[in-house]
Amino acid sequence: MTPEQLNQIATEEAAARQSVPQRLLVCMAAGCISSNGEAVKKSLESAVKAAGMNGTCPVTGVGCMGLCSRGPLVSAEPSGILYQDVAPTDAGEIVQSLSGEPVARLQCSRDLPFFKRQVGVVLENSGRINPERLEDYVAAKGYEALVQALTEMSRAEVIEQVSRSGLRGRGGAGYPTGLKWSTVSKAQSTTKYVVCNADEGDPGAFMDRSVLESDPQRVLEGMIIAGYAVGASRGYIYVRAEYPLAITRLNTAIRQAKHHGVLGTQIANTEFDFDIDLRLGAGAFVCGEETALIASIEGGRGTPRPRPPYPAQAGLYGAPTLINNVETFANIPAIIRNGGDWYAAMGTSRSKGTKVFALTGKINCTGLIEVPMGMSLREIIFEVGGGVPEGRKFKAVQTGGPSGGCIPEQFLDMPVDYDSLAQAGSIMGSGGMIVMDDSSCMVDVAKYFMEFCMSESCGKCIPCRAGTAQMYDLLAKISEGRASLNDLAMLEDLCDMVKNTSLCGLGQSAPNPVVSTLRYFRDEYLAHIQEKKCPAGVCAIKQEANA
């Protein structure tokens, strides 16, 4: 696609948009579809037809609008009026209201802090464009960055902008993206690969899923730019098989991108060729680790190997490989379009830009949010998220999945960035935030995550394979009221051993949920051990243990 063709598509789309006075946007991401969104869309289509507005008010399926707990969501354009909990039977009323007053009983205020406090970079198109049409993406400035990079910038200049942006890996570890790109670009090899890690395995996290379902072209564009910058001509997206809708939309996006010549040979009439293929994961959490992911793309069991060599030197099929997470790639088009400095102006001194979080658990507004780095946990949970429901008391927020920790109330005013979260004993992780109230038992939560790590351990190294099993047994013993203080001491020893001697990130971080709950909620452990009581009333204490 040439810059002229790109402009032409954008102009045609704008004209088409102008020719219809109104539009109804229906959220067609997984959350709203599960809340009967497809039926809502169908009845809106029939209602529009019945009102004789066919052709003047198209009904469009769009990506995630964020507030999943109030789905199905419908937005009327251009007024921007948002409707929540829409049932198929509400369709007629909504269509009639287009020429009059909004339907008050269904209206969801756009002035909620949930919307007001957000800043859209990765999610700028989410809920606004049809994820199954490349033209919609182009009309929203899509592929401008790619054409700009290919026709006006050298490879070094692209990497320079990414470095200046201060973007750090959004998969969780926070490695500087510009540095990674620069390492792969300097590696000497005729073959290089770009891999997008979409194996979103953390339980309680769905950021990548939403981005792939809502704006798949954006991820492709980020990958193609990366391919140009590092000198790769082939990319793979490793996506969970558990995300069928994301897979379908990615396949559609790849087909359309090839058709329009932004993927394939001689992209934008330059000498640059790039192709992208999907590889489906098969349900192994460890495959989120980059060397395990490579082993899995190569068709084998997903077991990690020691690093170095890092994938940037020897990765997929032994070639230098750039591996980034979905959200990292999704940031790239905006960074190239607006410049690295623009991005670096957001966030904190060492964590730049915005971050997408999946807000779930005991919180009023569950869904997907994007906020500037450095916003405090209190603002995220009590303002954006609307606080804890049913008048219950906030107890902890879990970040970083099985590799993260539980952060208690005293840290609520801490700014959310890579370094502060690490200091508090957790990690940024990929962006899952699960809020827990006083009905959750921290021993039970630690046991839950240890069970997860135990069954997801690939079995290659002994500290992880055997250590997680032993830690799980000890946690089970504590939760059942059968443990002694010696068991607790042994658990702490094991945490140290597994953390320091495991081969990959899974084992090294598996003790984190235990360590963080022991640090902040030790009294709960002691209550289980000494008083044979579960203060939250979750754990089934075996009565004979009291004897």
Binding site: G31, S35, A205, E242, A282, T360, T366, Y448
Partner: protein
Amino acid sequence: MPIALGKVSPPSEDKRWKIVGATMRRHGFSRNALIETLHTVQQSFGFLDRPSLEYVAQSLRVPLSKAFGVATFYHYFSLKPPGEHTCVVCLGTACYIKGAPQLLGELEQSLGITPGETTPDGRVSALTARCVGSCSLAPVALFDGEVAARLSAKDMQGRLQKWVSA
């Protein structure tokens, strides 16, 4: 020992093997296509049995042990035929703290089986998932692939009853 490169015949005349063959052809019968091919087999037949693993292993020239290793390593692959219906309880963190253990208890009680098993009459399979990514709607379960949002143990019992008594 070199393995003959002659054409390996599929385990049966079933037309679905053509789809499997097409996947392997698309990848040039490369060993790297093992997982992709197993996905196609499972999609077409619902599970991976020994004859299908032997066929795939021979066609891609990988040892049968490697094919078995991969098939058993990944949770997504199943070596047993699924029941007529499947119920998957999500055990993601959000679902867990919002009542997934109660759903699991109800599932086990209603069907008399534990996750990974199928009722003796072959009607319903019970499974668990690590996280299906519908965390905003927690707790969820999937009934034949459809997400049921904010599910209660009572709703679950009702839905399972329909399958069992139908």
